[in-house]
């Protein structure tokens, strides 16, 4: 689960990291109220993706009028596919210098890595490429956490010895997000040293492990209801699906991430573009298939659906029956090609054919067939698609 900036800052503040005062605004009027409370503010788009600054999603407001205008411009703006639902108005900082500090999981090392650099700010990736030695690194032992002497070494290695005390404290608190929140990534960039010498989080990014949600129900309750940009991903999440929106026109369902990804590859090879990635996992129960199909069909760009299932334990005839049922329930009119393999594949194919669904002999043929059919397809009338939920999607703000 990726938290928005203001949520990440709430969490970091609860861990003892200094943050500037700020106010969430869903309307320009609320942004003006924020200005009146805080004085000069940065008005910042709240989206769970980087690069909003370069996209015009952050504006400085020195007057109430500027705050209103900034909020007007930013709320509703599209940043990398996310429609901005609200802004965060934060007291502007007098910046003396910008530091980078963060941690993430280093897959190769099978460990967490702490990163610290005196060259913080928006160009940190460039710094990493051009002068990797300017980023100090530490792999804390996962049972012990970072030791004091390791933090001291990290801070001196980054050339930030004169800030050893505040930095060690901030890094120690930031690290608490690992044992206490199952954080996978947490980042403060920039960590601002103000002209007054305070060290304070200018921005914050935080991602927690959804596999550990059962350990952090409070976090899930507080922030899990908050809805991200893409409406199909939001709907898929509600239905418990592993779903990622893409920008093509072929809907994809597969069982297993690897098989699903290789299906995407085949569609592209056949000249088409996938509209999504949707892994229904092992077992492939009828209900899950129906949910997956429903979400895919909500997207008006979709012109055909390819389902690729290899039945290891799953029986092909049962998958076929479930699929036919789902198609009928959803009154699906779009072309549907199914590649069904493994246990009882013959019986499954027979059921599909009897119900007018095209079985592919193998995955590559199935991919070619759906691309062909989708290309011929004329747009379906909107009435034939399941609707998105009627209520408007709104962000909840924990007050």
């Amino acid at each position: 689960m990726k938290l928005l900036e203001y949520q990440a800052k709430e969490v970091l503040s609860s861990l003892g990291i200094p943050i500037p005062p700020g106010v969430v605004a869903r309307t320009p009027a609320e942004a003006v109220a924020g200005f009146e409370k805080l004085g000069p503010v940065a008005v910042k788009a709240q989206v769970p993706v980087g690069g909003r600054g370069k996209a015009g999603g952050i504006k400085l407001a020195k007057t109430a009028d500027e705050a209103r205008k900034a909020a007007e411009q930013i709320i509703g703006m599209d940043i990398k596919g996310f429609k901005v639902p609200l802004v965060y108005c934060e007291a502007a900082l007098e910046i003396e210098r910008e530091i980078y500090v963060g941690f993430t999981v280093d897959r190769d090392a099978r460990a967490n890595i702490l990163l610290l650099s005196a060259k913080g700010g928006i160009d940190i990736e460039q710094v990493a490429e051009e002068s990797p030695e300017s980023i100090a690194r530490l792999y804390p032992n996962p049972w012990r956490g970072p030791m004091d002497f390791e933090l001291t070494q990290l801070v001196y290695d980054a050339g930030l010895g004169e800030l050893a005390r505040p930095l060690s404290a901030i890094i120690e608190n930031l690290y608490r997000a690992i044992p206490e929140l199952d954080a996978l990534t947490a980042e403060i960039n920039p960590l601002v040293v103000t002209k007054k010498g305070e060290v304070i989080a200018g921005d914050a990014k935080l991602e927690v492990d959804e596999n550990a949600a059962w350990r952090h129900k409070d976090l899930e309750e507080r922030y899990g209801g908050v809805v991200e940009g893409d409406p199909y991903e939001v709907e898929a999440k509600k239905r418990g699906l592993t779903y990622v929106s893409l920008d093509g026109e072929i809907g994809i369902i597969g069982n297993g991430a690897g098989l699903c990804m290789s299906t995407l590859d085949l569609v592209q090879r056949a000249g088409g573009r996938a509209a999504n990635f949707c892994d229904i996992g092992g077992g492939a129960k009828a209900e899950v298939v129906e949910n997956a199909l429903a979400v895919i069909l909500m997207n008006p760009r979709v012109k055909g659906v390819l389902m690729n299932v290899f039945g290891g334990i799953t029986r092909g005839d049962e998958v076929a029956k479930g699929l036919v049922h789902a198609r009928d329930n959803l009154k699906m009119k779009l072309p549907l090609v199914v590649r069904l393999s493994g246990t009882r594949e013959e019986e499954g194919r027979k059921i599909l054919k009897q119900n007018g669904i095209e079985p592919g002999a193998n995955a590559w043929e199935a991919a070619q067939k759906i691309v062909e059919l989708a290309t011929m397809e004329t747009p379906t009338p909107a009435a034939a698609r399941p609707d998105l939920p009627a209520e408007e999607v709104t962000l909840e703000h924990p007050s």
């Binding site: 993706v49 190769d108 044992p179 996978l184 550990a212």
Partner: protein, 275 residues
């Protein structure tokens, strides 16, 4: 032995393992010690099971909140091959488990979130269906479950039997790596060919390619899924700082080609390249 033998998954797959002839000597289920399940004696703890039966390998079929402890329990009890099928273990738990296992260097962990391993016609630990397999000279190692089954089926259908099929699992933090498994295949006389099925993310495929590039007696084909998957919608820079340009399908395929390993662009191509 099987940890969580009395559960639904544990029961079902224990029977499958027994059907293939796997010698399941013990199971655990705290509170049920002293009973018998599927003809197998049940113990309260792995240490008790090892003491009584000498079990040296374990398949773990317990839910995510208990699986990390089950892995560590197995290692501490002296189990040398630990296969964890459980999907959905929190990553930070696995990082702690990996560090714990450093204290038990003779314990090998396969997974978590993996289908396990099978030597066709001989034995298996995990959930790979026997019927997609056939005995023969091809070693198969894979990060993906269903792709493994698909490629296994294709090999069997073409008369290319398998020495052993190993699913290392799809989680970011794993036990055995491609490299570890390939080293074992190199030492396995029954294996002359090798199929490596990777996917985007991490650098395990690159490290495997590097190993194979140093010289190998195995005729190898690699396949990477996710060539057209878009870069994840990343937030933050920490990931980019540490991984740089590694982890893409392109970098992985290139690494294998530079190591002199044939790369299949679709799974259909694997059989042809392997012959």
């Amino acid at each position: 032995m099987v940890q969580g033998i009395t559960g639904r998954e544990g029961s079902f797959h224990t029977e499958q393992m027994q059907a293939l002839g796997t010698n399941v000597v013990a199971g655990t289920s705290p509170g049920k010690g002293g009973t018998t399940h599927l003809g197998v004696p049940v113990f309260n703890t792995v240490a008790d099971a090892v003491m009584a039966t000498g079990a040296n390998a374990s398949g773990i079929f317990v839910p995510p909140p208990f699986a990390p402890d089950a892995i560590m329990e197995a290692a501490a009890a002296g189990i040398s091959l630990i296969v964890c099928i459980t999907e959905g273990i929190p990553i930070q738990d696995m990082i702690r488990v990996k560090d714990f296992l450093r204290g038990y260097p003779s314990a090998r962990l396969l997974g978590a979130n993996c289908p396990g391993l099978i030597t066709p016609g001989v034995a298996k630990i995990g959930i790979i269906p026997q019927r997609i397999t056939m005995s023969g000279p091809v070693g198969l190692v894979s990060r993906s479950g269903t792709l493994t089954y698909e490629v296994g089926s294709a090999l069997s259908a073409s008369g290319l039997g398998q020495s052993t099929i190993v699913g290392i699992g799809g989680d970011p933090v794993l036990g055995l790596t491609f490299r570890d498994v390939i080293e074992l295949f190199e030492r396995d006389r029954a294996t002359t060919h090798l199929v490596v099925i990777g996917e985007i993310g991490g650098s395990d495929e690159e490290h495997a390619a590097e190993l194979l590039g140093r010289g190998s007696r195995l005729k190898t084909v690699a396949f990477i899924s996710g060539r057209t998957a878009p870069e994840g919608k990343r937030m933050g820079h920490a990931g980019a700082i540490i991984s740089g340009n590694r982890g893409t399908a392109k970098s992985k395929e290139e690494a294998f080609r530079q190591a002199g390993v044939a790369v299949a662009e679709t799974t259909d191509e694997i059989v042809g390249l392997l012959r």
